[in-house]
């Protein structure tokens, strides 16, 4: 058992040594592999970030009522108290014309343009937060229709729609990541396989000699398999660094964007579990690539 362990350890270290002996070509292979892995990883992380955001949005399926221009502040408040008693409504918030104008000046930067107007063009707005037990689109639609019918309301909009659309896009994006990752996984397998095939060709003489002195295919394959393992693992590590570096670069603009749209910021990086999976999958793909080549090529390399 100890001997078995030692033989594997030797092969593991030997294969690493082989790669260090040809740093340039090893680095090229690892770079190509890591780009494939990093692409999948980066797309995954992008989708994960968006999913994370929409997780928060789920609770915010609010309805916005834009009241008619003719509706006075007093009428607005009267409507508000009526709405608060509605059984499907959790809470409401009134944004008067003056408040709306103040917000608009503050956030849009068009304050000066508004000052040129003789009167405030903004309508009164009531934000309606439905009760949380209203979950199905039909229930929400019913409430929306009801609110639309109120004489004070000019326009009623539900923010649910774009959330739903976004969710549909995310489902599509998740599929897309899966498809892309699968294609790139094959790329990793083929690239490693081809690299190992070249290594096998370069060391053909050695393989034949080893066979002549009684080496089994397993013995000969071992260092090549470990070589594939190292390619995969090192490429995975490099890919992880690339993704993390990319995220670090994008973090502050992403946070800015989120603050503007959502009022809060939370950028998601690769979790520990994600990172472990990334490394394990990379290493496994490397081994698979070399294994495929070894199975097909090794028995063809005979002393003749």
């Amino acid at each position: 058992m100890k001997g078995f362990f030692m033989v594997h350890l030797q092969a593991l270290l030997f294969s690493l040594g082989q790669q260090l002996r040809t740093p340039f070509s090893s680095l090229l292979t690892i770079a190509v592999l890591s780009i494939s892995i990093a692409l999948s990883g980066a797309f995954y992380l992008a989708v994960k970030n968006i999913t994370h955001l929409t997780g928060h949005l789920e609770t915010s399926n609010q309805i916005t009522l834009f009241l008619g221009q003719q509706v006075s502040d007093q009428d607005g408040r009267w409507l508000l108290t009526r709405l608060e008693k509605h059984r499907s409504i959790q809470s409401t918030r009134l944004i008067t014309k003056t408040e709306g104008l103040k917000d608009f000046e503050q956030f849009s930067g068009f304050g000066d343009a508004l000052k040129a107007l003789s009167r405030n063009p903004l309508p009164m707005v009531i934000q309606v937060f439905p009760r949380l037990n209203l979950t199905t689109p039909q229930q929400l639609q019913q409430l929306l229709d009801e609110l639309k019918a109120l004489p004070e309301v000019a326009v009623a909009k539900i923010d649910m729609q774009w959330v739903q659309r976004l969710k549909a896009i995310i489902v599509l994006a998740e599929r897309g990541v899966l498809v892309l990752a699968s294609i790139l996984a094959f790329a990793v397998i083929f690239i490693t396989g081809n690299t190992i095939r070249l290594e096998l060709q370069n060391r053909q003489e050695e393989v034949v000699i080893a066979k002549l002195v009684g080496a089994t295919n397993g013995f000969i394959a071992r260092p090549f398999l470990y070589s594939g393992f190292w390619y995969g693992l090192l490429a995975g590590l490099l890919a992880w660094l690339m993704i993390t570096g990319l995220m670090a670069l994008l973090q502050s603009p992403m946070e800015q964007l989120m603050t503007l749209y959502l009022g809060y910021q939370e950028v998601v990086f690769l979790s520990v579990l994600d990172s472990v999976i990334l490394l394990v999958v990379s290493a496994v793909l490397g081994v698979l690539g070399s294994w495929g080549v070894l199975v097909s090529q090794l028995s063809r390399l005979t002393p003749e």
Partner: protein, 218 residues
């Protein structure tokens, strides 16, 4: 030990290389296989080494019919033989010690045991102190002795040598032959293919002569 029973070998491209060859070599015998180039000496050795398979007939090694050896058993059969080549077949990017250690590494010996055996065999072939040298820094005779050391380090019961002195001058060739005799004395069966008749006659050993694939004298 080695038995050929009406063995023929035919390559589709070149035709018959061995025709109806039969002989027996007993354990501990040293036998020369002679004949002109192309007579089938190398092919005969390859049949024993499981590099080639017979077209007809049977080859036995230590009582085992080599026709019946499965692909996955081949490596284990090869560990019973020490193969020596005219071109040495050394790994030039490994040290002498690493070259000799290869069969032991393959057989799974411990690090200490490998070190011990490599040192012992280097002593025996007269290359003590050359462990760390690389093959290409050695003379032809020394390289062949590394090849011999590698062949015998795993204590095989049979040594098969294909023109082992083909690239060496007569003085060096004589020394190599002396080494082979030492192995024979400890009970190893030795089969040497050579066209160097002077070495054969000096040795006084049994001689098998091939001509155009046929065994013409024994």
């Amino acid at each position: 030990m080695i038995k050929f029973d009406q063995v023929s070998k035919r390559y589709s491209e070149v035709g018959d290389v061995l025709v109806d060859v039969s002989f027996t070599i007993t354990k501990g015998e040293m036998v020369f296989l002679t004949g002109p180039s192309g007579a089938g000496k190398s092919t005969l050795l390859k049949l024993i080494a499981l590099v080639e398979s017979v077209s007809r007939g049977q080859v036995f090694l230590e009582g085992q019919n080599l026709n019946r050896i499965l692909e996955r058993e081949v490596p284990f059969m090869r560990r019973k033989m020490g193969l020596i080549f005219q071109d040495y077949k050394l790994l030039n990017d490994r040290t002498v010690a690493d070259n000799i250690a290869l069969p032991l590494l393959i057989a799974g010996y411990s690090h200490q045991e490998i070190k011990r055996r490599v040192r012992a065999v280097l002593d025996k072939v007269g290359l003590a102190g050359k462990e760390k040298s690389y093959p290409l820094s050695l003379s032809g005779g020394e390289q062949q002795r590394v090849g011999i050391a590698r062949a015998v380090v795993n204590k095989p019961s049979v040594i098969l040598a294909d023109e082992p002195t083909g690239n060496l001058d007569p003085a060096l060739a004589t020394e190599i032959m002396r080494l082979f005799k030492q192995f024979k004395q400890v009970g190893v069966t030795v089969l040497i293919a050579t066209h160097d008749l002077s070495q054969v006659i000096d040795s006084g050993c049994r001689q098998l002569t091939l001509e155009q694939g046929c065994l013409v004298s024994d």
